[in-house]
Symmetry: C2
Subunit: 805 residues, 2 copies
């Protein structure tokens, strides 16, 4: 059977169903990685086999990291295959040995990666994944003898223990607290560390254990082991040519005086044609020592975890669980449109990226997160709304907890030990009511408003009150003309010097707040909080006027004014003339009337809609501006400085659709949908199956280059704007709106959509080839009024036929 | 002429005069480095050619670092030599290419290192040093054609720009603010960076430039260049096999969109026997932008610096200046004893280590300092007392500035932007009066007491008052029985959990304070500060009693009591029974009477004086103790946990000498004097020419292994105890004491000693072979009374003949 390859290029392709991306050349322009997580334990693996792992829920993953490697700007747990007779060795992934191969492919899937290789007549297939229910990652290695003689091989695993460290020159400080031990009975090596970078409950530094036992085990008898980087790698060698493989057996160092690493060597002898599977596990078991404020790990039993998973059967069972685990999270909604890129990304990869990396692992190759971002994971949690809204609810509560009584919040926070920066960022706090509204629309679960949550500085209140205080705090920071102050920055962190003296304004925050008031006023009224409702109504009216009066620049809206009163994002400026955010949100929020919407759309089309998406501003700043902020310090065209900042670019899809511009909405989507970049991988450089944080703008010599993939808030939003705004299926308080805004060329599309307790099988017929306009909807064969599906709440599946025209 | 080699082993040897250490095998057990500094600009270079550079005076050198390399756990600026015809290339030092060589040696000297090599018939000699007066390092590369045919070579330099970064995953954040440029006229590449990890004067993060222009220039026409790590090294290659050397010319990338590096390639064609020299420079010129509180760099001109030094003549002139510069700092005192190890270390290497690394560079391979340690550089500054006491005075003032009005001080501080941890460490503050006394004895310069210095929290006072407040603050933290509280820790930082509740006591602090009061009482009396003098007298008397009553354990002194009242360093303990510090300082301070001194000496001999020096405690802790502190978290035998902590071990030399134990004082010295470890380099591992911070104690499987060299407070003290306590020549308020306490075996020694405005040529005659006891001293042929040389203050040199007996 020949596999049908989609979006194929010289580096790889999507499988026909889009559930796997197959890399065929390890020398991709950048690491094309997979970020694999079960919500607690996470790891990263690149197409070369590099990677690292950490306990993900804890945030601060530098401090919870289990292992990493330091060579080649890449991390790794490595697997060596050695022909014992010829003494040749290679690796089961391309790194670290980088041997010439006869066959090589890496299959990145949802929750796993597989490295298939043929070298020296030996086929190897190494599957890596993390068990859904325990902090254990599994390396299932199958070797097949495709030569015509008996082959005596050994397999040798290797990685450096990391055990949660702060930055440290050459591991010289932290390694001296590590203790390794070989456990013959368990066929395992184990690690403890007597120092963790957190203060104890008295506030004393360097006085607690790393709260885990690290382990590395193998499913068959150990031929030899080593726990010392120095003897395995060698002081003047590296992982490509480790000294440990120059001898028959490894050095078998262990204890407290080496440079903690883990290597397990096993013999595998294969008859011609024979195949054998060896299972390795790596994991960490909490000691549950309760030595640190905020860390109350339940004790876990390393030996039990080793026994459960370190066998061929255990690994098989665990992999089945992985598949079920992810199916629950991503299969509640499925679309089938004429655009495979949209289908693959919407059905699998964007959900996976948002959940596995962004919400759970919280780190990737380019960026290591310090904790939860207040705005970030709150927005991301919308990815759960269709499949598991209870997880979105949990996220809302978690963020409400990070608020002070006055209403402001931590810009981000640590989950171990707590704490974070309390800033005068002007939008952080408002995301709570914003995301709350999406949750209410999807679930109709108003009980969340009554959930009582503590403040950081004492006292407690229900979620309604938390939201109210956020809004009130925002109200207390307006300019004399009624526009929200910029403060330390708004959504665009790089606008960091515009408003520190609390004079500069952000028109975008005005629009954002306007939109929030729209949904919060009815909540206040429903609770008879009439005084506050009235206040909000007044502010809302005034805001529309103020933004339109002071924020209008003639052909578009301004981004801001500075403390010194200068306009930012104005035709008066030579650089940063026009910013995307205040213009698309003017449309999304309804601040802009129909005429201004048209004018704004024209301006966006003229200045911002570029080949690879909508730019965040134009033209880029070419010199640092100490009165604007560090956005001006990026190279022109890079990231927030005149590049396509993908997170914001997704909202331009929403804005175009809200303006009824079906072709433009699709264009704005198509240009940032990663598989569409398959035909120029050396320019794009980034993975084709996840979103990048940014793509270079036209002033960059690498125009169109994708940057900082995986850990970006764009994944959830790109999924959401496709379903909610292009396909037009979006939740409302009293039903499910169906209002497609699609390319006229499309004949239609189908979509399976779970909404609360009901599943709708929607078929949209666009045989008349319009962009928009629902002519008729039949629900289970019966025509309904309007374009909103009722909440049938019957646990059944229903057929919906939609005709455009 | 055959060079006489001293302390030769398989890795290298000292030259006959001890001024150079020559490494003949690059695969030393650990990096055997040189730390080269001019007091402002510093760099490290290992025997493999690895290294990094930074502006040293600034402290926080992660943030002022100019370049570094990331492979092989080693840093580097690299120099490739390529045979253009054969396309073979190798490096002028062993790294990164690690080519087989016909000859290889590295000569580490005072202020320079030279890499001599012969590969493929080409001799190369690369001398690296930093100019004394400017932030410029020089690489003078001489290549000689020893083959019998014309050789067409090119030289290619390479390093990664670092430009002051915080820890950052794979340089992904910081690299995007760097900007490189090739300057054809200057034959140079330059670097700017538009972000530095400090807040601007408003407190805004990410809003200032890195305040330097980095440059790299070469003395002859550039064949090609590259400023991009990715094109030079290659995404999946490394510095050993850089892709840049696969082509005739380098890629010539520059600008803001690469991964900033520097490579300059020049052609060198050599007739048989011909020799040519190429000079490369690397440096940084301050922009002087004055954007950050506490940074007022004077603007420097990169082009001027390039022109001055980037030529064969410029380099020669600069190297002459280097030699004069260091001669001034180390040649004011010179000893000649029967012990070459003592001579080499005392005359050159310990002074060099203390000044170049510890006071100036403030970082080394194992440890990167965050700034100035309050105690650390104050003690180190004693190294200047003989040669340039004005530099010690400057250091005293600098530390007085880091004091709060209440008398306590920063445990360490940042020089850029200020700030540091204000702790309840119990000894930090007392080092100011302690070192002041050494300064007064050496210089008789009492004007320092009147120098007015600001406090950190406002106000100012003279240095006398600063010292007084330190003492008064210490007085306010006594236990009810009159012993100083441990607080957050004493000199032993790892005793971090003994006294945080301000109940636990430190007997060592009692002794230290006692010694300080001895010297401070006369200062108070001289200023008619009689009330304070009386107070000090009372405390002093009481302290002697309290330590002797509560601190005496029967055969030795206790280290401490904990907040819970447990004894630490007592025969009642199973681990940490006896600590070195309270016992040697009881002798040094005079707290112990003659009988207890004898008892204590016996106990030290029995438990602590081991093969490689005196242990800090015995036996080592084998389990973490949350009531003692992180010292118990080190592996048993490592560092402060039952190892030889060299800094403290030097004081045991003092104590033995103060007790009149000439043989033991010399033994305690000999065992930690690095050249003496030449016969077991694979066990010792560390450089033979600088002190290590520690050596493993007997519980370590690597008993005797040296660790954490160069950046250690032991260098200055090992020099001082040799001259002041073994050779017995030490300054007093009214003259220079000569009181040798030497091995009886010695026939004598000579010493040149500058004391204030006079130079004494001292010859000690021990033909009767005693340890101690001056029978007669002749000054310029005339016998004098007693054993104190008068302060002749005549600018002349005088002959001193000392006869022991």
């Amino acid at each position: 059977m020949v596999e049908e390859k989609k979006f194929e290029n010289k580096y790889g392709y999507f499988t026909e169903d889009g559930r796997e991306y197959v890399i065929t050349d390890p020398k991709t322009p950048r690491p094309w990685a997979n970020i694999i997580s079960n919500g607690d334990y996470s790891f990263m693996v690149s197409q070369t086999g590099g990677g690292c792992s950490w306990r993900g829920n804890a945030g601060q993953n530098r401090l919870t990291r289990l292992y990493q490697d330091t060579i080649k700007d890449n991390w790794g747990k490595y697997m060596y295959i050695r022909d014992v007779e010829s003494e040749e060795y290679w690796s089961a992934a391309w790194n670290p040995v980088q041997t010439d191969y006869d066959e090589y492919e890496v299959r990145h899937g949802i929750g796993y990666s597989v490295f298939n290789q043929k070298v020296n007549g030996i086929k190897s297939s190494m599957k890596v994944f993390v068990t859904p229910n325990d902090p254990v990652e599994i390396l299932e290695v199958t070797v097949t003898n495709e030569s015509d003689r008996v082959r005596k091989l050994d397999l040798t695993s290797y990685f450096e223990w990391e055990a949660g460290k702060h930055p440290d020159e050459h591991r010289e400080f932290h390694k001296i607290f590590m203790d390794t031990e070989y456990d013959q009975d368990m066929k395992a090596v184990k690690l403890e560390k007597y120092l963790w970078g957190f203060p104890d409950k008295k506030g004393l530094a360097n006085n607690v254990d790393w709260d885990y036992v690290g382990f590395h085990a193998v499913s068959q008898d150990v031929k030899s082991f080593d726990c010392d980087k120095e003897t395995f790698v060698g002081m003047y060698s590296d992982e490509a040519t480790p000294e440990g493989l120059e001898a028959d057996k490894l050095a078998e160092n262990q204890g407290r005086f080496g440079d903690a690493a883990a290597a397990l060597q096993v013999d595998v002898t294969l008859e011609p044609g024979e195949e054998k599977t060896v299972v390795y596990t790596i994991g960490s078991a909490a000691k549950g020592k309760d030595e640190i404020e905020g860390v109350n790990n339940e004790p876990e039993d390393a030996d039990k975890l080793i026994q459960e998973y370190t066998s061929v059967e255990g690994a098989k069972e665990a992999f089945k669980e992985v598949q079920e685990f992810w199916s629950e999270l991503i299969d509640a909604e499925k679309v089938d449109t004429p655009d495979d890129a949209l289908n693959f990304m919407t059905n699998y990869w964007l959900k996976y990226q948002a959940i596995s990396c962004r919400l759970w692992a919280k780190s990737a190759y380019y960026q290591t997160s310090a904790g939860y971002g207040y705005r970030d994971q709150l927005q991301d949690s919308q990815i759960f709304l269709t499949s598991k809204p209870e997880l979105a609810r949990k996220q809302i509560i978690a963020h409400a907890e990070q608020q002070f009584q006055e209403g402001d919040v931590y810009h981000w926070w640590f989950t171990i030990g707590g704490g974070g920066p309390r800033t005068k960022c002007s939008d952080d706090l408002l995301w709570l009511p914003f995301i709350l509204d999406a949750y209410l629309k999807e679930t109709n679960d108003y009980t969340v408003l009554d959930e009582v949550v503590e403040f950081l500085d004492g006292g407690e209140a229900d979620v309604y009150e938390h939201c109210k205080r956020a809004i009130e705090m925002s109200f207390s920071r307006f300019s004399p003309r009624g526009v929200p102050l910029m403060g330390h920055h708004d959504w665009n962190d790089g606008l960091s010097a515009i408003g520190p003296d609390m004079k500069g304004e952000s028109f975008w925050v005005g629009e954002f707040l306007y939109m929030i008031l729209e949904s919060f006023i009815p909540l206040a009224e429903a609770r008879d909080d009439n005084k506050f409702a009235d206040k909000m109504k007044t502010v809302k009216e005034n805001m529309k006027e103020a933004v339109n009066e002071y924020g209008w620049d003639g052909e578009w809206y301004l981004q801001a004014t500075t403390d010194a009163g200068l306009k930012v994002g104005s035709k008066e400026n030579e650089e940063g003339k026009i910013f995307l955010m205040p213009n698309i949100w003017a449309i999304m929020s309804g601040i802009a009337d129909e005429e201004r919407t048209e004018t704004v759309i024209d301006s966006i089309n003229e200045y911002l809609l570029e080949d690879y998406g909508t730019l965040l501003n134009y033209p880029a700043f070419t010199e640092p501006r100490t009165d604007i902020g560090y956005v001006t310090r990026y190279a022109p065209g890079l990231r927030e400085n005149g590049g396509v900042y993908t997170h914001a670019a997704t909202w331009s899809v929403w804005a175009y659709a809200a303006a009824g511009e079906g072709e433009l909405a699709y264009e704005a989507y198509r240009r940032i949908c990663p598989p569409n970049r398959f035909d120029n991988p050396d320019e794009y450089m980034a993975e084709p199956y996840v979103t990048p944080g940014n793509s270079d703008g036209p002033l960059s010599p690498m125009f169109g280059r994708g940057g900082w993939t995986w850990y970006t808030g764009s994944s959830q939003w790109l999924q959401r704007v496709a379903t909610n705004w292009i396909l037009g299926v979006r939740a409302d308080y009293d039903g499910l709106i169906v209002d497609p805004c699609i390319p006229a060329e499309w004949d239609g599309y189908t979509m399976k959509r779970k909404f609360r307790n009901t599943t709708y099988q929607i078929t949209v017929d666009n045989s008349v080839h319009v962009n928009q306009g629902v002519k008729e909807i039949k629900l289970d064969g019966e025509a309904i009024e309007g374009n909103k599906l009722p909440d049938l709440d019957d646990g059944e599946e229903h057929q919906v036929e939609v005709t455009l025209g």
